[in-house]
Amino acid sequence: MNNSRRKFLIWLGAGLNAIAGVLLSIPIIGYLGGALRGMQKEQAWIPLGGLDVFPVGQTRLATYVNPFRRPWDGETANTACWVRRIAENQFQVFAINCAHLGCPVRWFPESGLFMCPCHGGVYYADGARASGPPPRGLYEYEYKLDGGQLLVRGGRLPTLAQGV
């Protein structure tokens, strides 16, 4: 009699704790997974400035502040990209992140190459892979011209899984 009462209490206790545990973990997992909410939406049109700062036939560094930022992001929200103006209305905008492991590539106008300081990836002026370990060319932004301004669509850290 006593024994069955104890068993009942153990089962009751275990069951109660299981239910409570589940109820506790749902919000915790939800909270941690919160970073994934709106993942697909994290892209926006970002102005890079007037067209006159990008001379035709040249590649220039442009910077913008990431629109998906927290107030305490500080300078980490700054982002840089390489803008290549091919013709009057024709551009190519590259992420500075090397397609190999994400280090910032530098542009050398004399030889028309982007070079990466980490593992020696090299790209041509049009972003195509020239040599070294990168598995593909530079990540490229979608762009549009609006009211004498160059806008790019971005907001993410570009990786092999996901572009800018």
Binding site: R70, T79, L101, G102, E110, S131, P133, L157
Partner: protein, 487 residues
């Protein structure tokens, strides 16, 4: 057990009163005073306690640093500068914390090698080894997250490299990166995450695992100094070990702890000396990703990995980056199950000794290569490296023009002359002994063999000048390359 003596003195009775309530003497007998084989009081057995000591130093200095450090992306770098230059002795505590971590990784590696070579992972200490392996991974986790908290350019781009690796995970790449970053870019929430890992999660895990690790050492006893020709037989080992303790056992404290104490003292002095002499690590430039004049390098524990990323064949890269570490860790965990019994002594285990030498040699060479990364272009060589005088003395105007082209087209970033410049491509000092004029033109225009094609970036006059200069690059005593297909 407090035995009542006839008339204990006042002090004795106070001590007995306390012991009766706290059971300290019993606790001592079963922990610090436990019996160890006399043979284990060896200089080879000091690395475990040394590692633990480093961990304690890390906790103490870490707590101190957390009093000033601001774990937010916009202020972390500034607070490090304050620690270095304004906070009284802040620079020294940062240096001790940094050197404490270097010593911890180094001594832990020695501990692991010693345990492996002395067969201490064999029956019945399999799980002691496994818990130690998890501790090793946790320590590397602390090293990486700590490097991130030093929130400078290296930290920022180190995170970028980490994320680029993570993103290569099939299917889940994008989700995993987003979860680790806490958002779409490396920013505020990323630092908060790594702070939480470095300060709460991983240290908590380490404390729990160290307790388990020590508990196992106490329960199973410390490994006796291995003797060749005395293999482990799981059927008889426990009895033999008990007999050994009965015959030669000594309490760890006070009899066997001497060498650990000496080593611990030397470790602390070593950390303090290094901290005082070398000072704190960084921070280098602020973590602003628009400052692209940067040359990211990881701390030394990750240099072998950094080098491997540059040197492995690209077609194998994703597989090696993602699979090799997992396989390596699994093998590490399986060691005691693959070799549960048999000889313990390294004198009878040549394969074990050779594996350790090979692994350490590989890691050392990779780390050494990582310190000067010959695969990276030297970004300033084209404008900063001098052209050796003997290579331009007595040259024609066309050849001199070629020497200028070679500089201004950044060839020097990858090719050295007179020992300065990049090492990505071959040195050009004697290129005319290897390539004919035609071959030089082809190589420059079309590239190949990991060299970009320059056809679009050189006009014909530049190519003519460049090749004319390169055709002069050979020592007088070596003949020019010639095309065997022509007369």
């Amino acid at each position: 057990m407090a035995e009542r003596r006839v008339t204990p003195s006042r002090a004795q009775s106070i001590a007995l009163w306390i012991d009766e309530r706290l059971h300290l003497s019993k606790l001592f007998e079963s922990t610090a005073g436990h019996h160890v084989p006399a043979s284990s009081a060896s200089w080879f057995y000091v690395f475990g306690s040394g590692t633990l000591l480093c961990f304690v130093i890390q906790i103490v200095t870490g707590i101190c640093l957390a009093l000033t450090y601001a774990p937010t992306a916009d202020q972390a770098w500034t607070s490090l500068i304050v620690l270095n230059y304004q906070q009284y002795l802040g620079w020294f505590l940062r240096a001790v914390h940094n050197w404490g971590s270097n010593f911890m990784v180094a001594i832990m590696t020695l501990h692991m090698i010693q345990v492996f070579l002395f067969g201490a992972f064999k029956y019945p200490r399999e799980l002691t080894w496994v818990s130690g392996c998890v501790l090793f991974l946790c320590t590397l986790g602390m090293a990486f997250t700590g490097q991130v908290l030093r929130f400078d350019q290296d930290a920022y781009w180190g995170l970028g490299i980490g994320m680029a690796i993570l993103a290569r995970t099939p299917v889940l790449g994008a989700v995993l990166t987003q979860l680790v970053l806490g958002g779409p870019i490396i920013a505020g929430e990323t630092l908060s995450r790594f702070f939480t890992l470095h300060v709460f999660v991983i240290p908590g895990l380490i404390i729990a695992l160290v307790s388990l690790h020590l508990r196992l050492v106490l329960t199973l006893g410390i490994n006796e100094y291995p003797e060749p020709g005395k293999p482990v037989d799981p059927k008889t080992y426990r009895d033999e070990y008990e007999k050994l303790i009965e015959q030669t056992g000594e309490p760890f404290v006070p009899n066997a702890i001497g060498k650990d104490l000496v080593f611990s003292g030397l470790v602390i002095l070593g950390i303090l000396a290094c901290a005082a002499y070398f000072g704190p690590a960084g921070p280098n430039g602020p973590p602003d990703p628009t400052l692209i004049q940067t040359n990211p390098r990881p701390d030394f524990y990750f240099l072998p990995l950094f080098s491997a990323f540059a040197l492995m064949p690209p077609y194998l890269e994703t597989v090696l980056i993602l699979v090799a570490p997992v396989v390596g860790i699994i093998i590490l965990f399986l060691v005691p199950f693959l070799s549960r019994s048999g000889e313990k002594s390294p004198r009878r285990r040549p394969f074990a000794v050779v594996s350790v030498i090979l692994i350490m040699l590989t890691l050392t060479v990779l780390a050494w290569l990582g310190t000067y990364s010959p695969w990276s272009p030297v970004m300033e060589a084209w404008s900063g490296a001098a052209t050796p005088v003997e290579l331009i003395r007595g040259r024609t105007p066309l050849e001199l023009q070629g020497a200028l082209v070679l500089q201004s087209k950044q060839c020097r970033n990858c090719h050295s002359l007179g020992g300065t410049g990049g090492m990505r491509g071959p040195a050009l000092d004697a290129v005319a002994t290897r390539l004919t004029r035609d071959q030089l033109i082809r190589q420059v225009l079309q590239g190949g063999g990991n060299m970009p094609a320059y056809g679009r970036n050189l006009d014909p006059s530049e190519v003519t000048a460049l090749v004319a200069f390169m055709s002069t690059l050979r020592p007088d005593y070596e003949p020019k390359a010639h095309d065997a297909a022509r007369k």
